[in-house]
């Protein structure tokens, strides 16, 4: 099993009822992909569905480029964040 940290910002945190981060365990051989992490997020936080429609995802503090999150393999200690549309400045 691998540990992956999930971070929720702004409206994503609101959708997780105020939870800003949590750590999940994934079966590495499943395989453990970004998609599997997203599925877990959806199960644990039904309100996240609406946020995920317009949010981007980051992996280890870099935007995820891939069209298909199932192509991105996760490793132990990875950090995934749900990035709603930004509004800095």
């Amino acid at each position: 099993m691998i540990s992956v940290k999930l971070l929720y910002f702004a409206s994503a945190r609101d959708a997780a009822h105020g939870l800003s981060s949590e750590t999940i365990e994934l079966e590495q051989q499943a395989p453990a992909t970004l998609q599997s992490a997203v599925n877990i997020i959806r199960q644990r936080h039904p309100n996240m569905e609406a946020v995920l429609k317009t949010a981007l995802l980051s992996l280890n503090q870099e935007y995820c480029e891939a069209e298909n999150t199932q192509d991105i393999l996760l490793r132990d200690g990875d950090e995934v964040a749900v990035i709603p549309p930004v509004s800095g400045g």
Binding site: F9, D14, P84, P85, G88, G89
Partner: protein, 164 residues
């Protein structure tokens, strides 16, 4: 052709300062980080909390940031700026937490030998920040309601290199 002094094409925290803080921001302090005897120009941008949005009265903005990712992404942005413009130094200071009306939420400064580089670089930097940096603001209105804002779509292709 005028001598162009040393300018780094590589973004580096020595010359490209980055600060996220809940303290009030200071333009003088940001400018001090980019002053250089070989500079002929310093350009700055300050974003401040406006008192209205869509005819409604705003009390304050509340900011949060994914700081380690903002730092990485900011260096990427400055790298792009340095590929387009001759820049000596830059500094980006962003406030988090509550920013009341009239106060400053972000400061961007850049120094260069010639004015076009500094002015255009700062314009590119603030547009890129608003498009890409993982920072969010919540707008608190005087009726007590609060809403997470989303920045408007920004066309970054308009920022062309300065020709020398």
């Amino acid at each position: 052709e005028d001598y162009i002094p040393k300018h780094n094409t590589q973004a580096c925290e020595t010359y490209d300062h980055f600060l996220i803080s809940s303290e009030t921001l200071s333009l003088d302090r940001a400018c001090a980080l980019v002053r250089d005897d070989s500079a002929g120009a310093i350009s700055t941008f300050e974003g401040t909390t406006r008192n209205t949005f869509n005819g409604k009265r705003v009390l304050r903005l509340e900011y949060e940031a994914y700081e380690p990712m903002a730092r990485k992404e900011w260096l990427n942005i400055v790298q792009e700026a340095r590929s387009k413009y001759h820049i000596l130094g830059t500094a980006m200071h962003h406030r988090i937490g509550e920013v009341p009306v009239g106060q400053t939420s972000v400061i961007i400064v850049a120094s260069s030998a010639h004015r076009a580089d500094a002015i255009n670089a700062v314009h590119f930097l603030i547009d890129s920040l608003k498009a890409r940096l993982p920072i969010w603001k919540k707008e608190i209105l005087d009726d007590g309601s609060g809403a997470w804002k989303e920045n408007e779509a920004i066309n970054l292709t308009v920022h062309r290199p300065v020709s020398h």
